[in-house]
């Protein structure tokens, strides 16, 4: 008794891919196989007719423009990876200073400070996103002790950010700002301890 055609063979018939003559003959004479091929065509038609995704919103576009602008600004400032490797400890010191200021100095709450803090947070979020994208593209996680420690600290910062309420007090905003700054420093430190890896995906040249 002839064996039943496999799904791979039926798909090859559906798609007009080359197939051994013996298999092709077997599929042609098998009514059940023909029904399955028709079902596969129906599924393909249904997949192609699925609703498209939602269009990107105006808000999303504004964010993209802001990120693009932030990246240009970052490059102009010369804050590339090599330079960050040298200066990230200074950032750490600056953060400690900011922390001290937060807790030791009683800053009068006024609109300008609030606005400055909000602007800073947006800039830090943009910078964080850019570095994360870069990490995603080039990271070669080797699982070393220092990498694990940094990842652990990063997870802590993320948890702290997630647990912050949406309060709009200056203190709350400063705390958020500091955490975003910390997140950036940790990712830069992670970049610095990882050996540079080539992106696994190569872009086609058009």
């Amino acid at each position: 008794m002839d064996r039943k055609p496999t799904i791979a063979e039926l798909l090859a018939v559906r798609d007009g891919d080359p197939l051994e003559a013996e298999v092709a003959t077997r599929v042609r004479s098998d009514s059940e196989a023909q029904i399955r091929i028709d079902q596969m065509r129906e599924i393909q038609t249904a997949l192609r007719a699925l609703p498209s995704g939602p269009a990107g919103t105006e808000e999303l576009w504004r964010e993209i423009e802001a990120w693009a602008a932030a990246k240009v600004g970052l490059q102009k400032a010369g804050l590339r990876r090599s330079r960050w490797r040298r200066i990230w400890p200074l950032g750490l010191v600056a953060s400690v200073g900011l922390l001290a200021e937060m807790f030791l100095v009683s800053d009068p709450v006024h609109d300008q400070s609030l606005e400055t803090s909000r602007t800073n947070i947006v800039a830090l979020q943009q910078q964080s996103r850019l570095i994360e994208t870069q990490l995603m593209r080039t990271s070669s996680y080797a699982g070393s002790a220092s990498e694990q420690a940094l990842m652990f600290r990063l997870a802590e910062v993320d948890a702290q950010l997630a647990s912050l309420d949406d309060g709009h007090s200056l203190r709350g905003l400063r705390e958020r700002e500091l955490l975003w700054q910390r997140r950036i420093e940790l990712m830069l430190a992670l970049q610095a301890v990882q050996p540079a890896a080539q992106p696994s995906i190569q872009y086609a040249v058009y």
Partner: protein
């Protein structure tokens, strides 16, 4: 684009329930892939020249297709939006390197698919996702709310393993060959064929289940 032209023979059954089926744009919105998107040449020229207004217009035109691909490949809306952002940051940054205006759409599609693959393959992302996975899933593949309102084919597609789903989408919707899929995924054409077959095994089972259910419902009326 004329919806009555070849390639736009959608039946009423395939209209998106969220759209107004009487309008022409509904037909275009209901097409999931890049195949039905057109970027006018003058707009593509402006994008290559770095015109920010043109970037915005192309964003409006192409974002549904990018979201479709990313959403179906990665399984969550949040991830799809991140891909959309990354793709258009690249359009702004690297669009000027495209030599032919006619190649812009294909370039965007390649970038979108590569960004999805990179996200799935990146050790950084995998490490980060370990902590975010449960949260993501609530909004993603397994969430009942997410599944509600989706068609049977989409539910069956989303229930497949990620790589299998990607192969099916690239092959059946985006029209990639098995060799091309093997190349972009760093695997062989045979791998792509076997994933497609494995995926269809699941899809056919669901498809027949649905038909049996429909037949049963008709019989009980």
């Amino acid at each position: 684009m004329d919806p009555n032209q070849a390639g736009h023979r959608l039946t009423q059954a395939y209209f998106c329930s969220a759209c107004d089926a009487s309008t022409r744009c509904c037909i275009l919105r209901c097409m999931a892939g890049f195949a039905d998107v057109e970027i006018p040449e003058e707009l593509a020229v402006a994008v290559i020249a770095g015109d920010r207004t043109a970037h915005g217009q192309v964003f409006k035109l192409v974002s549904p297709a990018v979201m479709s691909v990313a959403w179906r490949m990665l399984g969550t809306r949040m991830s799809a939006e991140e891909i959309l952002q990354d793709v258009f940051i690249q359009v702004i940054e690297r669009g000027g390197s495209i030599e032919r205006p006619g190649a812009l759409l294909a370039w965007i599609r390649t970038v979108a698919i590569n960004e999805c693959l990179m996200r799935l393959c990146s050790p950084w992302r995998q490490r980060r996702d370990d902590g975010e996975f449960a949260e993501d899933q609530e909004d993603g593949l397994d969430g009942a709310a997410r599944m509600e309102g989706l068609g049977d084919v989409e539910k069956a597609l989303l229930a497949l393993p990620t790589e299998t789903r990607m192969v099916i989408w690239l092959h059946d919707v985006e029209g990639y060959t098995h060799k091309e899929i093997g190349d972009v995924m760093g695997k062989t054409a045979s791998y792509s064929k076997s994933q497609l077959a494995r995926g269809y095994e699941g899809l056919l089972a669901k498809w027949n289940e649905r038909k049996e259910l429909a037949t049963h419902e008709l019989g009980t009326r």
